[in-house]
Symmetry: C2
Subunit: 339 residues, 2 copies
């Protein structure tokens, strides 16, 4: 009999997550009630925000409870439907979390059209990561033609879209990534300059790449990349901030000195805008236009994407731990084996 | 024969400025050329930004050179005119710096109407400090009716205008100042709550004053006030940042830990906008409307102001050193004695 495999939050990490923070469980398949559907996970999306959910700390979303299924976006197939809007075999965007099956109300999922785009893109370039890039660049970064846009984690699903959208809007795109393969990939994507943040000459490389300074820095990393970027930001620079993955595993504040006064002084003297955001803020106002724009850009080749698909739900914890260390190359997806 | 007394930057301060950083000089009165006027200083404005000009560091404005006259805004009387637009006896807003006389091109000064408002307000509530408050609150803070606006250095010329303008716009104003006299003054001005940052219960007092959190924090101080404010900022809070006077005398970064990652995380998880600005950015677009609005508010009593006038140019260094320590109560003005 087919069973459901679920990955639960077993304990809260202290610093880097380890295998012990996760627990596997096998349960009977759940039964959908009225208006609900039973779904089989085709792709589980792994994203850096999940690290935050593992903490017992106030944030923009509630933490995952101990013993609960790890949270996550999924592309799934309807295997049983108690709602007239969905039929068996339909593919939907859903939020099942780290499990191979799950039940959701039909109204909480969105039916995908596999003829329009590969369904995996619904959690990637055409989904939350792509929309994060779109909203952050266009609504906060607002790059003007000829301006310089810098993005870190540029080979990732958000960063790669940031750079490409910046170029579509006529800006220069400078991408920062870790390692020669990712740097080469950025050049393939058309980034004007691609830089390896692991290089011993990283700071000089970055300064040389932005002779006119930086007008927009899309911040999703923090750490030493941010340190190198800050002195190069121009007057009136805009910094959309949607992640600080370099600090997600911090167990305490880094050693001093305290550089926050320097940060404030920099923002002050150069009239910089630092704006935190979560893509959900812009869904109502911009999601429909994003879908249209992004589909068009994918169709004409100006917006490309890359996926890093790991087979087997059992490999999700290891893949996630690697994601936080920059080991993933492209949008991180887990493809559970069919039970 | 009347002579000019000038105060020069003698040496660059290391930390707090001292009397030794300034040097007095007496020179013959300068002679105005064509299109120029000879001016006598009536009021010299002392402002925190001047501390930045004493450093040899890149900022939004060039530093004062060693041996040059300290920079500063002035209200002055025309004593000799070589330009048809100005007559002897006219009062003008000018930028003579720390000296009792000076020559400026007539087109660089602005004639004041003493019947409209006391001329000292041209460097205060109707001048740069007032406009800093106006632009920062309305263009960056954008308080909505019922929202909570917090401002530090609230008894100063910028902060007092910030709170009053916030109230004019229907927001709750919470003012932070140092010492019971200033706190009492804030209550006179109509601030909804006034708090003493020197109190041992300051953090608790602030939290109690903002039961619905903080929507706008007008930042001009930094230091321990900012530390207390940051955890109380609401989602989508706006932080216009126009000064960090608590750090102007820092000689090195404060001891650790490094709290800048915490700052970034806070901005991220609460979608906060932190925006540095200098009022000059908004002069072209908003100065005229500011003059109209502020004059109206002063006339109807909704925008009050206080001046701290020190007689004698020779007292400017001591007054300025005190200003940076929070000893000034109201807009700091130096009134040179008539020579």
């Amino acid at each position: 009999m087919t069973q459901n495999t679920r990955i639960l939050l077993n304990s809260r990490p202290h610093g880097e997550p380890t295998a012990e923070n996760f627990r596997f469980e096998t349960t009977p398949l759940p039964t959908p009630g009225d208006g609900e559907v039973l779904l089989r996970t085709i792709y589980l999306s792994l994203d850096p925000y999940m690290r935050g959910r593992m903490n017992d700390a106030k944030s923009y979303a509630a933490p995952v409870e101990l013993g609960a299924v790890m949270e996550g976006g999924t592309v799934a197939e309807v295997v049983e439907s108690n709602d007239p809007s969905l039929a068996v075999g339909d593919i939907v965007l859903s939020h099942l979390g780290w499990q191979s099956y799950g039940v959701q109300p039909a109204r909480h999922v969105r039916k995908l059209d596999p003829s329009r785009a590969p369904v995996s893109t619904a959690v990637g370039v055409l989904g939350m990561p792509g929309f994060t890039a779109y909203a952050g660049v266009l609504e906060i970064g607002k790059p003007q033609p000829g301006e310089t846009v810098v993005v870190a984690a540029a080979a990732g699903p958000v960063g790669s879209a940031v750079g490409q959208i910046a170029r579509i809007k006529g800006a220069r795109a400078v991408g920062i990534a870790g390692g020669p393969d990712k740097v080469a990939y950025l050049r393939e994507l058309g980034f004007d300059v691609a830089i390896d943040h692991r290089s011993p000459t990283f700071e000089d490389d970055l300064a040389a790449a932005v002779p006119d300074g930086i007008d927009v820095y899309f911040e999703n990393v923090g750490g030493h990349v941010w340190d190198a970027v800050l002195p190069l930001l121009n007057t009136y620079a805009r910094v959309p901030l949607c992640g600080v993955v370099a600090h997600y595993n911090d167990t305490e504040a880094p050693a001093g000195p305290d550089r926050s006064p320097y940060l404030l002084q920099s923002i002050l003297t150069r009239s910089i805008t630092l704006r935190g955001f979560i893509q959900s803020e812009f869904v109502k106002s911009h999601y429909r236009q994003f879908q249209t724009d992004a589909a068009g850009w994918i169709a004409d080749g100006s917006l490309q994407y890359k996926e890093d698909i790991v087979e087997g739900l059992e490999n999700a914890p290891e893949a996630f731990i690697g994601l936080l260390k920059g080991k993933t190359f492209g949008k991180a997806l887990i493809k559970p084996r069919e039970a």
